[in-house]
């Protein structure tokens, strides 16, 4: 055990302070994707922007940063302390032979100061840099294009109303790599060619691809594909993507536009064009009109990951194709005038169909990542749908309103699907709690209408 931990080196991870709950599953998933693992020995304070990770190699640290959208940068940690004195003592203990390669006389460097929850003046910063004189910096300072960048990072806690005089944690390290935060801007939905009413925020869709451990040459499938926003992030990471949706107009890019000031969708508003916008068209497989309650895929393991955002019936309707009987009425249906009869699709059924589908069609170790809407006052962990072939990996909450939220559920296929597993959820008596998902729409709107009524009443006073 001691030998194993001695082989690991300590790295400091600087994280962005948003989507806090989603960060740990992202980093853990990415570490396992890079061949490492997230052990209980990691010194992680979940709500802090500073995590110390023990990782076997710098290469793995770089691999992690090529994917993460939750973390900003990673550093080789040279020293850490609760006070300046402790930091300096820790730096003096850091083996000189590990420092020297980066402090050579013919190299260039700069020192950067990063503070969290406090802003320092230039004079204060210079003073802190000068205090590091005892380190043998032999290279030349170059502020524009240095070979090596060293960071002093100071943590003044997370309470903006109670900022301490001195930092509670100080770190010093060598910068290694930045994460992929710039993707959030470059893939922003605002600039996207084709969007729908519920297009996923770029950051969250990258987080979903990371929770799903999407990797190059995977096949990623979205059964509620909509405008394909979730596929874009997977394609960015080199996976081939396909999707289905029951909405004929969305797949074909017809009908009313979701953008303000634009009435109808343009002739080239489709999923392929969305991928083309980002230079990812080569990863497009197909987008089909299909009903997720009736699988159209040949039996066998076909997909490496299923990443999706099922409709909750709030901003997009929940529908599935109607019964044979109903469709007979529309016998005038033809290819020119394509009408799919759809009937309402209960939320609990949507999630059951989804889990069953994932259990059957994912490769072993493949992941299902989806959003589950929650009425918060009634939430318990029991209402998360389960399947004997799928293991729950993570469950992260994003608030929607005071009484509703959605949870990003990640599950991994751990057992081969057999036909008897098909309806096994009915046997273990867990079915009843899920029925509660059906009334999510009513609860959502009951809360909203109550609030509006209350606000109106308050205004009248």
């Amino acid at each position: 055990m001691a030998a194993a931990s001695a082989a690991l080196r300590r790295y400091l991870l600087l994280l962005a302070q948003e989507h806090l709950e989603f960060r740990l599953p992202e980093i853990a998933s990415l570490l396992s994707l890079c061949g490492g693992q997230f052990s209980s020995q990691q010194e992680v304070r979940v709500n802090s922007p500073f995590w110390i990770l023990s990782i076997p190699s710098e290469e793995m640290a770089r691999g992690l940063m090529k994917r993460t959208v939750c973390a900003k940068s990673i550093f080789e940690l040279w020293g850490h302390g609760k006070s300046a004195g402790e930091l300096y003592a820790s730096l003096k203990n850091y083996p000189m032979d590990k420092m020297l390669p980066y402090l050579q006389p013919d190299s260039t460097y700069k020192i950067h100061i990063h503070t969290f929850n406090k802003t320092l003046t230039q004079a204060q910063k210079i003073k802190k840099i000068d205090a590091l004189e005892f380190l043998p910096f032999n290279g030349k300072v170059n502020l524009k294009n240095p070979e090596h960048i060293f960071w002093i990072l100071e943590d003044y806690g997370t309470d903006p109303n109670n900022v301490p005089e001195e930092p509670c944690d100080l770190y010093f390290g060598r910068w290694i790599a930045d994460g992929q935060r710039e993707l959030i801007e470059s893939y922003s939905v605002k600039k996207r060619h084709f969007i729908g009413n519920t297009s996923m925020d770029a950051c969250l869709s990258f987080i979903m691809a990371n929770h799903g451990r999407v990797k190059p040459n995977d096949i990623v499938y979205d059964p509620f594909v909509g405008t394909g926003g979730l596929l874009i992030s997977s394609a960015h990471f080199g996976a081939y993507v396909c999707g289905t949706d029951i909405d004929y107009n969305t797949i074909h890019g017809l009908g009313k536009a979701s953008r303000k000031n634009q009435k109808w969708r343009g002739p080239d508003e489709n999923i392929r064009a969305n991928l083309r916008q980002y230079g990812l068209e080569k990863y497009y497989l197909d987008a089909l009109v299909s009903d997720s309650s009736r699988p159209i895929w040949r039996k066998g393991t076909l997909f490496d990951a299923i990443i999706t955002d099922p409709p909750y019936g709030i901003r997009e309707a929940t529908r599935r194709t109607g019964s044979q009987k109903e469709s007979v009425k529309s016998s005038e249906r033809s290819t020119e005038n394509h009408i799919i009869i759809s009937s309402s699709y209960h939320l609990s059924d949507i999630f059951f169909d989804l889990l069953k589908f994932a259990a059957e069609y994912l490769v072993m170790g493949g992941r299902l990542v989806y959003w589950l809407p929650i009425y918060r006052p009634e939430y318990t962990e029991e209402i998360i749908p389960r399947h004997p072939c799928l293991k729950l990996i993570s469950n992260c909450e994003q608030m929607l309103s005071s009484h509703t939220s959605r949870r990003l559920i990640t599950m991994e296929k751990v057992k081969e699907f057999k036909d008897q597993d098909q309806n096994s959820y009915l046997l273990d008596g867990q079915y009843m709690p899920y029925k509660g998902h059906n009334s999510f729409r009513e609860k959502y709107f009951s809360g909203v209408t109550k609030r509006i009524a209350k606000e109106e009443k308050d205004n009248q006073k």
Partner: protein, 140 residues
């Protein structure tokens, strides 16, 4: 729709005879060929997921009959052909069509791209061949 997708799709109609919903019948009135960058590693990963007979008959029904490969056919050459058939040949636009019979959906292809060589797909190699990352061709 690409022939890869065609190879993975089956009819969603319930109550069909076993095997009757697959593969979809292709009536190739028009076919579109769209160039896609070749990625040998991806095509090799697709191999175990393919239904080979269905692919051969699909390739046949949209193009010329398959020709036997030259005897010294290299692995790369095979994957390149497979890439072409799976990812570059297809009908334009998304899945559309009507249910013409109890056998499933009719698959229609659009626009035969002018001046493009029709795909030629050889028999799969009979021996196990190592492909990248330790993947092997399945025996068909």
């Amino acid at each position: 729709m690409k022939l890869l997708t065609h190879n993975l799709l089956t009819s969603h109609v319930r109550g069909l005879q076993p095997g009757a919903g697959f593969p979809f019948h292709i009536r190739a009135s028009e076919v579109r060929v769209r160039s896609v960058p070749f990625n040998a590693a991806f095509v090799a990963r697709l191999l175990p997921r393919l239904h080979w007979e269905a692919l051969l008959s699909a390739a046949e029904s949209v193009t010329l009959p398959p020709q036997p490969p030259p005897p010294d056919d290299a692995e790369e050459e095979f994957l390149l052909r497979l890439h072409h058939v799976l990812l570059e040949v297809g009908g334009g636009g998304p899945f559309w069509g009507e249910r013409s019979s109890f056998w499933g959906w009719e698959w229609k292809c659009l626009l035969w791209g002018g001046g493009v060589d029709p795909p030629v797909l050889g028999s799969p190699p009979l021996l196990q061949v190592e492909v990248g990352e330790g993947l092997t061709f399945p025996q068909f």
